[in-house]
Amino acid sequence: MSNDDLKKTPLFDAHVAAGARMVPFAGYSMPVQYKDGVLKEHLWTREHAGLFDVSHMGQARLRGENPAKSFEKVVSADYQGLKPGKQRYGVLLNEDGGIIDDLMTARPDDDGLFVVVNGACKDNDYQIIAETLADEATVERLEDRALLALQGPEAAAVLAAHVPEAATMVFMDARALTAFGVDAIISRSGYTGEDGYEISVPADAAERVWNTLLADERVKPIGLGARDSLRLEAGLPLYGHDLDETVSPIEAGLNFAVGKSRREAGDFLGAERITKELAGDLSRIRVNLKVLEGAPAREGAEIADADGNVIGKVTSGGFGPSFGGAIAIGFVPPAYAVIGSQLKVIVRGKPAAAEVVASPFVPTRYVRKL
C-alpha cells in the first residue's frame, strides 16, 4: 500500500505538527513516536499522563429490540447482563472457538450498545456482526468520531479539570455525557495497565480536545511504539500477534471473556472446544516470559524446554522499559506454564535462558473503587 492510500485520523495534522514519525498501521498513517522517542514516552505514561490517538479503532452502535442477545451469538461475553454505565471485554469467535477479534462493549446510555474493535479487523468484524444481527438489530459504524486515550497515574486529575464527572467513574465504567462542549462517550479503561480513560468525541472536535488535554503540562502525546511496550508490560495480548483465529480465549488466558452465564448455557460458537479447554483439556496456553540473558526475544522466536526441545513460540516480545529487561508473551503446553518454569528462547539461532513469570510484568493500577 502506498502512503497515498493510507487513511488519516482527524488528528493527522496535529501529529505531523508535533514532529511525529508517521507509519502505516491498520490502513492508517499513525504516529509510532514523537520527538521524545519510545523509551521516554513509555516512562512518561507510567509516571504522568500519556495521550494516544486511537481513532483508527472501530466505533459502532448496535441497536434494536435486544441487541445484546443478538450480539451474543458471536461473542462469548455476557452482554445481556451488562449493566447500564458499564463496559466489558469480549472476543468475537469463529465456529471453532478461535478469536476473530477482541473488543470492548459498553452500555453508556439507553441507545443500545457501544462497541470498540481493532482498526485492522473492523471491516471484517462489522460484516460478521451485521450478518449475525440480521433483522434483529442494526450496526451503525460511527465513522465521524475520533477516539483518544488518556493513560497514566495523573490522567484522572487531568481529565477531572475538564470533566468533573470523570472522577466519579471507576475502572470499566462507561458513560455518554457532555464533555468539552460536545457529546462524548468516556470509559475508565485503556490498554496500558495504567489508570486512564478512553474518550470518544465527534471528529470535528478531536483536535480541540487533543490540544486542550496537551495544554496540561502533565500530558504528552504518545505513539504506537510506546503503546505496544506499555501493553506488553501489562501482560495484555494484542490481536494479530498473541491472538488470531486459531487461538481460543482459554488458550489465551482470557477465561473471563467467557461469561459465567454463557458457560452454563454453552450457547456460544466453539462451545464444545472451549468447554473442554475450561475443564483443563488444552494443548497450549499463553505465558509471560522473562528473558534472563541476551537479546530481547521477538515475535516468532521459538520457545524450548530446558533440554532444547521446541515447545512453543513467542507471539510478542521486546524490551520492557519499566520492567527493565527483555520480556515476552508466548504459547507453550500447560505442563510448562507454571511460574518459575525454566525455559529457553531461541534468538537468532542461540538459546537464551527464560523463566515463566506472573502476569502482569509491571503492576497494573486500575482504579476499581473510589
Binding site: V32, Q33, G37, L39, G225, G294, R298, G318, F319, P321
Partner: protein, 121 residues
Amino acid sequence: MRFTKDHEWVAVEGDVATVGITAYAAEQLGDVVFVEVPEVGKTVAQGDGLAVVESVKAASDVYAPVSGEVVEANAELGDAPETVNALPESGGWFAKLKLSNPAEVDALMDRDAYEAFLATL
C-alpha cells in the same frame, strides 16, 4: 570516515577499520536497548551481518561495510547500549576489523557524498 547506503561508517587506521552506525541511523532506530557484537576472530565478507542492534521496538542488522577479521568488539555496549544513541560516530562503535581488501574502503562514500545521499531520502 567513509559511509555506506545502509548507514554504517568505517574509520581506518593502518589496516584496521573501526565500524559503527551513523547519527542518522541511530536517530532512526530510536532508543537502543541491546547490542549484539561479533566475537573476536570471526571473519566477515563485505555485506555480511556484523552486529545486531535492538531498539525498544525492533531488531536491526548492522552489515560489515568492508571485509576482514574481527580483532576487537566494543564490550562496553553490553552494559551501556544507549551509547549508540549518545555517541553513534565515536564511543558507540561496534567492532574493529583487520581489512582483508583495503580497496573496498575507497569505494565507499565520503562525508559529502553521504550527506548528499541522506538528502535524497
